[in-house]
């Protein structure tokens, strides 16, 4: 009931987004029902019906993706402190979001059923002189359980995915900092973060703090700096009497190189002769209290608190570039290569497209980050600084849907090139599916932009209080869009042209 009440009282823009979800769900449901109708009409040709059903996964995935994006931007489902006390906590809000999504999708499914039945001529007479009778199994009895199952796929899948995507997680759990002795008795999390492939990852050796394996030199240098800072900050230690959370949970794991200093901060006190970082780092004396414990227990009066309220509200922007870029480019190249050698073998072309699309989606956040970096390079003024840095910070949120749009656009371009001569290759259902996928992905991208704007509302308000002209903020947004278009437009065209190349040979 609460979900219904919250759903009813929303602004028109929110309702429009929900209606778009309903429309997407209706389109997908109609496609599913059409496949069903085809199978009913041709009970002997199961081989032909199964791929049709399989192709429906593409619009289905696009619909679910869009539903998640809309649920994320839903203002009714945003956690609020006051509501949490009433009982609308994060978990309940997740349920509300899932229910709202299920509602929109069910509405769409019902619409699809109505249209399907109407086209079949079950409700009124046969429209369009029975032109659509072929795939609708007109005149045959429609099995109710199968229809309901097919129609229930979209709402069930969408609401489940939304619930999973929005499930309440602690912002960054007070990470138990496992302090253990490193190779040479040096402590700190020197071995913790070396995951598979982390060594050879692009740029992993270039970041100043990424040196788990960079060895003692970097740590010594850091250590010495930090000691100087420690000595300066001693009086603050005394005044506050609290554990320092200078390296709070927000930036845990992003700059592992600073970890040794942070570990020393909240755990054992630095030794009195702390001037030499090498001695302190390499040989922990017995008087140092360097037991390998987590900072949460007896060594420490209280666990590291999450820093102030601002850090809770604003997720700390990521420093590091998204790491998917090299993988994405590799997959993209592999996919294009597979396609060019496929020679019209159906499965190989499909595999190539899958690889290409995955590569594009993986590479897009990195490319977006690159875009932002280029925008704010070489002595930027306020405009380029704001435009570029925001793009860098929002690279993942904007980049992923952008990559999806890119993949869809290049696929569409390549398909139209391939079938340029044979227009009848596009049936009405194919057109519907293509429209659905394109619309959903574009709408997802726009919704991600809305989400970004919502997240930055506080900052924007503060900038306006500073006297930043609103026109400048709009120009910065336009600049971001233009930069993205300038990078991704040619990229899409290039991928599409390369993909269509072998067929044109």
């Amino acid at each position: 009931m609460v979900a219904l009440r919250l759903t009813r009282a929303a602004r028109p823009a929110v309702q429009l987004r929900r209606l778009l979800v309903a429309a997407a769900s209706a389109g997908t449901g109609f496609l599913l029902l059409s496949c069903f109708g085809y199978a009913l009409n041709h009970p002997e040709a199961a081989d032909a019906a199964a791929p049709r059903l399989a192709w429906c996964t593409v619009p289905l995935a696009a619909t679910v993706y869009f539903a998640i994006a809309v649920a994320r931007t839903d203002p009714g489902a945003r956690p609020l402190t006051g509501l949490s006390a009433v009982g609308l906590g994060p978990a309940r809000l997740m349920a509300v979001s899932a229910l709202t999504t299920a509602l929109s999708c069910t509405l769409g499914s019902l619409l699809a059923l109505l249209v399907f039945l109407d086209l079949r001529g079950d409700l009124t007479g046969m429209p369009f002189d029975g032109a659509a009778a072929g795939f609708l199994a007109a005149g045959r009895h429609l099995p109710v359980p199968a229809t309901l199952t097919l129609l229930g796929v979209v709402p069930a899948l969408a609401s489940t995915t939304v619930a999973l995507a929005l499930r309440p997680t602690d912002p960054r759990p007070a990470a138990p900092l496992l302090r253990r002795y490193g190779p040479f008795g040096a402590y700190g999390s020197s071995m913790a973060r070396e995951t598979f492939g982390a060594y050879g990852r692009f740029g992993a050796r270039l970041r100043p703090g990424a040196g788990d394996a960079r060895g003692k030199h970097a740590r010594d240098r850091h250590g010495r700096d930090e000691h100087v800072q420690d000595e300066q900050g001693q009086d603050e230690h005394v005044q506050d009497g609290q554990a320092e959370d200078k390296h709070g949970p927000v930036d845990d794991g992003e700059r592992p190189g600073r970890r040794p200093a942070g570990a020393r901060d909240d755990g054992a006190q630095p030794p009195p002769h702390a001037g030499d970082g090498r001695a302190a780092g390499a040989a922990p004396g017995p008087g140092q209290g360097g037991t390998p414990t987590t900072p949460g227990n007896s060594t420490d009066p209280e666990p590291p608190m999450p820093e102030g309220d601002l850090a809770d509200v604003l997720p700390g922007p990521r420093h590091t570039a998204p790491i998917g870029l090299p993988w994405g480019i590799a997959l993209l190249a592999t996919g294009l290569a597979v396609q060019s050698y496929a020679d019209r073998a159906h499965a190989a072309v499909l595999l190539g497209w899958l690889l290409t699309a995955t590569g594009l989606v993986l590479a897009a956040p990195g490319l977006t980050h690159l875009c932002g970096r280029l925008l704010q390079s070489t002595r930027p003024g306020a405009l380029r600084l704001l435009a570029g840095r925001v793009l860098m910070a929002e690279a993942i949120r904007i980049g992923r849907p952008l990559g999806v749009v890119c993949a869809v656009a290049s696929a569409g371009y390549a398909m139209t090139t391939l079938h340029a001569g044979s227009a009848p290759a596009f049936g009405p259902l194919t057109t519907l599916g293509a429209l659905l996928v394109t619309g959903c992905t574009v709408a997802t991208l726009l919704t991600a932009a809305v989400e970004t704007r919502q997240c930055r509302a506080d900052t924007t308000a503060a900038l306006l209080r500073l006297g930043a002209p609103a026109s400048m903020l709009r120009t910065a947004a336009a600049l971001r869009a233009a930069a993205l278009l300038a990078l991704f437009g040619p990229l899409t065209l290039a991928v599409a042209a390369l993909a269509a190349l072998p067929v044109n040979r």
Binding site: T459, L466, A468
Partner: protein, 248 residues
């Protein structure tokens, strides 16, 4: 209370300001005050007494319903939103209760932002920003992003951001609200010292009598009106409550 200074002495002058919030709740009911050049004026009062609203009216963030606001003999109450925005950018500084910094920019870029918005060159803006950060004891954190700083450091960066473009009037709305007392005094002292040494007029909203003691003059507000002394009824006696709890 002292007599009103003649308007030509005042950098900011308001007469019988009335303001009502968009939802109809009362904001200000006839506040008049003058702010002299280079002074630090504390606007005190309990929460909800209209301090922030008064500051927002004086700085031109919101239009007043009736009454006049004059800045250097320019009528603020007749200017349109665009002109007010330009005036805010060029002449006024603003410090929020909580430091809202642009999370993507590092400390010195945040502090340099207003200067860059005014069209100053990047190099000049950087020099000024670094100088102010140094003066406010956060010079060593100039290259850190806001989320790497502590709240007090963030607030200092916000103060540096407000001071760096050398505004004529600085509006500080409870600038020390989210800080502990040690940080609070330090931050406020640096703010007032910096303002005095640079001749910046400060309008400081605070509900803390200690903070108000740092100001040259104090204007007390209560329920949107200017009062000479605030006499709130004392907290109700707790004897009865104690007796009840004993009797349980």
């Amino acid at each position: 209370m002292e007599a009103e200074a003649p308007p030509d002495n005042d950098v900011l002058w308001a007469r019988s300001l009335h303001f009502r919030h968009p939802d109809g709740s009362p904001g200000l009911a006839g506040v008049s005050l003058g702010v002299r050049e280079g002074e630090i004026l504390a606007v005190t009062g309990p929460r909800g007494s209209g301090k922030t609203t008064l500051l927002r009216c004086l700085s031109g963030l919101v239009p007043v319903r009736s009454g006049e606001v004059w800045f250097n003999s320019a009528p603020l109450h007749t200017l349109g939103p665009m002109r007010r925005e330009r005036l805010r950018r060029d002449r006024f500084g603003w410090i929020d209760p909580a430091p809202v910094l642009v999370p993507e920019l590092n400390a010195w870029e945040n502090a340099a932002l207003p200067l860059m918005l005014r069209g100053a060159g990047r190099r000049r803006a950087k020099v000024a920003a670094l100088e102010w950060l140094e003066r406010l004891d956060v010079g060593d954190r100039a290259r850190n992003r806001p989320h790497e700083l502590q709240q007090a450091e963030r607030q200092r960066v916000a103060i540096a951001r407000a001071l760096a473009p050398a505004p004529t009037v600085l509006f500080a709305d409870e600038p020390t609200a989210p800080l502990h007392r040690a940080d609070r005094n330090h931050v406020l002292r640096t703010l007032t010292t910096a303002a005095r040494s640079h001749g910046i007029t400060v309008v400081l909203a605070t509900h803390d009598a200690d903070n108000a003691a740092l100001a040259d003059r104090t204007v007390a507000l209560l329920d949107g009106r200017r009062v000479s002394t605030v006499h709130l009824p004392d907290a109700p006696e707790t004897e009865g409550r104690a007796a009840w709890s004993l009797s349980v």
